[in-house]
C-alpha cells in the first residue's frame, strides 16, 4: 500500500504541473494523433492528457521504487551470507 501511494502521489503532483505547462503552450486543437487532427472535445483532450502525464510520471516513480528496493534486497542478501 505504501509503495503504491508513494508512486501515485508524487506523480500526481508532477503530472498536474506538466499538464499546466504543456497545455498553456500547446492548443489541443493543434495536436495530431496518428496523423489525424485530434477530434475529441477540449475537456476530453485535457483529461486524457492529464492521465497520460500521470501514467508516465508514475512509471518513472515505479522504476525508482523498484531500483531502490532491489538495492536494499541486495544488501540484505549480502548480510545473510
Amino acid at each position: 500500500m505504501q509503495n503504491i501511494l508513494s508512486v501515485l502521489w508524487p506523480s500526481f503532483l508532477v503530472a498536474g504541473i506538466a499538464e499546466g505547462i504543456f497545455f498553456t503552450l500547446i492548443d489541443p486543437r493543434e495536436l495530431y494523433l496518428f496523423g489525424e487532427p485530434v477530434h475529441f472535445s477540449s475537456l476530453a483532450t485535457y483529461s486524457i492528457g492529464f492521465f497520460c502525464f500521470w501514467a508516465i510520471c508514475a512509471a518513472s516513480s515505479m522504476a525508482t521504487c523498484y531500483l531502490l528496493r532491489t538495492a536494499q534486497e541486495f544488501k540484505g542478501a549480502d548480510q545473510e551470507t
Binding site: M1, Q2, L5, W9, L25, L43, Q72
Partner: protein, 471 residues
C-alpha cells in the same frame, strides 16, 4: 535546534513505517478561544470565496472563469489568453514569496489557518462532531460493536460528508465550465462524461483527504510541510511550550502552593494533546508534524485560567525568546531582522511590477502565424501569395470594430476580412492571403507588418511583424 525534517533523516525505517501505517486514529477534541475564532473566520472567508465566487456575474459572463475550451481566463474585468502566461508566472512567484515571508515570520501560518486541507478537515470534523458527538463519544462509538444506532450515525455522517464533497467537486468544475450551465445540465441529466468524472474525482479527493486522511496528508503527502523547516530560524514565531515555566509538570489543585513543592505550571492534564489535530504533544518541543494551528494554545489558556495562573504556558514565541525569556517588545524587535526586510522588499517590488503590468496591459492582442501548409504560391495574374492565420484578441470590456491593414512591400495587397468585430473580451482566428507582384521585395524572406487598429479608438493599435516568402 528545530527538527522539522526529522523524518527524512531516517529513510530506511521510513519504508517499514509505512506511508499510511497502522496509525493511531486521532480524535481531536473541540476547542474554543481566540485562535479557534480566527481559524473559523478564515474558514468562512476562504470558503465563501470558493463556493461563492463562481456564481458572481460580470458584464454578462461569469466573473471568474478559467474557460478551458475557449482557452481564455476571465478574472473580473480582465481577460487572459495563453499568451499572457507571464502574468500567471509572476502571480505564482508572488505566492511563493509570500509563503516564504510568512513562514520566516510566523511559521506555519498558512497550514494553521488557510490551507484547504486544514479548512476542509475543520468543516468535516464539525460535521462529525454534530453527528457523532464530542471526542469521548466518538472514541466510544468507534470501540462499540456495530449496532443499529451506530449504523445510523455512520450513514448520516458519511452521507453528509459525501454531499459536501460532491458540492465541492461541482464548484471546482464550475470554475472551468460556466457554472450556471453546469447547474442546468445537472438537472437535465445532460452533464458530459468528463464533467461527471471530474466532479466525482475532485469530490472523492476532498472526502478522502478531509474525512479520512486528515493529519496524514500534512505528515506524509504535503511537499510544503517537508521543506518549510529550512525557512525557520531561531527568531521565527512558532507554537511553543514554555518548559522553564511548565516543568516539572504534575497535577496540583487550584490555590495549592505547588511552586513550594518544586512543581511547574503544567498540571499534566493532557488537554493540549487531546485537541491537537495531528496528535502530537507540543510539550516535547517543536515537531515537524505541528501544523501551527494553535489549538493547544487555546486549550492550555483555558486550563491556566481555571487554575488561576497566567495564560501563555503554550504560546506564539521564538526559540531565542523562550531561551532568554523575552517579552513581546524584544520578540518583535528580533522579528524585524535583515532576512525579513529583504524578503519584504523583494516581495513588494514584484507586486508593484505585477500591478503595473496589469494596469498597462494592452487592450488588444494580435498573433500572426504563417500557414505551415503553403510556403508561397503563384496565383492568377502572376501574383505571389502567402497565407497567414491572424488571432485577434480584444482584452477590453467593450465591443470593438478593428481595421486590419498590411504593409512593408511595394504593391502589397490583402485578401480576406479587413474589418472584424469582437465582443467584450472576445477573440477570433481567421485566415488572410497576402499578395505581391513577383518583383516586389527580394528573394527569400521579407519583413511585412500587419496593423490592427480599433476603429473607435486610434490609440489601440498593434503592429505585428511577419515574414513574407518570395520564391
Amino acid at each position: 535546534m528545530l527538527t522539522p525534517l526529522a523524518v527524512t533523516s531516517k529513510p530506511v525505517t521510513f519504508v517499514e513505517q509505512g506511508l499510511y501505517e497502522v496509525h493511531e486514529k486521532v480524535y481531536p477534541r473541540s476547542v474554543t478561544g481566540v485562535y479557534a475564532t480566527w481559524r473559523w473566520l478564515m474558514v468562512w472567508l476562504t470558503q465563501t470565496l470558493f463556493y461563492g465566487l463562481c456564481w458572481l456575474p460580470w458584464n454578462g459572463r461569469q466573473a471568474v472563469l478559467f474557460d478551458l475550451t475557449a482557452r481564455k481566463f476571465y478574472i473580473f474585468g480582465l481577460a487572459f489568453w495563453p499568451q499572457d502566461i507571464i502574468y500567471l508566472a509572476v502571480l505564482l512567484i508572488i505566492s511563493a514569496y509570500s509563503l516564504f515571508l510568512f513562514t520566516a515570520v510566523g511559521g506555519r501560518l498558512w497550514c494553521g489557518y488557510a490551507c484547504p486541507q486544514t479548512v476542509y478537515t475543520e468543516i468535516f470534523l464539525w460535521i462529525e462532531r454534530k453527528i457523532e458527538g464530542n471526542r469521548a463519544a466518538r472514541i466510544k462509538l468507534d470501540a462499540n460493536a456495530m449496532s443499529p444506532r451506530k449504523l445510523l450515525l455512520r450513514v448520516a455522517k458519511y452521507s453528509a460528508w459525501g454531499l459536501l464533497a460532491l458540492w465541492t467537486g461541482f464548484t471546482f468544475v464550475g470554475y472551468f465550465t460556466p457554472i450556471k450551465m453546469l447547474w442546468v445540465s445537472v438537472w437535465s441529466f445532460s452533464l458530459g462524461p468528463w464533467e461527471i468524472f471530474w466532479i466525482i474525482f475532485y469530490g472523492a479527493f476532498t472526502y478522502l483527504f478531509a474525512g479520512h486522511l486528515r493529519e496524514q496528508v500534512c505528515k506524509y503527502m504535503c511537499p510544503y510541510a517537508r521543506f518549510q523547516g529550512v525557512m525557520f530560524d531561531p527568531d521565527t514565531l512558532t507554537i511553543t511550550y514554555d518548559a522553564t515555566r511548565g516543568e516539572p509538570r504534575g497535577s496540583h489543585k487550584k490555590g495549592e502552593a505547588y511552586k513550594a513543592q518544586g512543581k511547574g505550571d503544567c498540571v499534566d492534564c493532557s488537554i493540549c494533546v487531546q485537541v491537537c489535530p495531528t496528535g502530537i504533544d507540543i510539550r516535547k518541543g517543536l515537531q515537524y508534524e505541528c501544523i501551527g494551528c494553535a489549538a493547544c494554545i487555546d486549550a492550555c489558556d483555558q486550563v491556566m485560567e481555571k487554575m488561576g495562573t497566567p495564560k501563555g504556558l503554550i504560546r506564539y514565541s521564538t526559540e531565542h525568546a523562550i531561551a532568554a525569556q523575552w517579552g513581546w517588545k524584544e520578540i518583535i524587535r528580533h522579528i524585524v531582522r535583515p532576512r525579513v526586510l529583504v524578503y519584504t522588499a523583494i516581495l513588494w517590488t514584484i507586486i508593484a511590477a505585477f500591478i503595473w503590468g496589469i494596469a498597462t496591459k494592452s487592450a488588444l492582442r494580435v498573433d500572426v502565424i504563417r500557414d505551415r501548409a503553403v510556403l508561397a504560391r503563384e496565383v492568377e495574374g502572376g501574383l505571389i501569395e502567402n497565407v497567414y492565420r491572424l488571432h485577434v484578441m480584444n482584452a477590453s470590456e467593450a465591443a470593438h470594430r478593428y481595421a486590419i491593414t498590411v504593409s512593408g512591400l511595394p504593391e502589397i495587397n490583402m485578401i480576406g476580412e479587413r474589418i472584424i468585430e469582437l465582443p467584450p473580451a472576445g477573440d477570433r482566428t481567421f485566415m488572410v492571403q497576402v499578395r505581391v507582384p513577383p518583383d516586389s521585395g527580394k528573394r527569400g524572406s521579407n519583413v511585412i507588418y500587419f496593423e490592427v487598429k480599433a476603429m473607435a479608438d486610434e490609440t489601440t493599435v498593434i503592429r505585428e511583424k511577419a515574414a513574407f516568402i518570395q520564391p
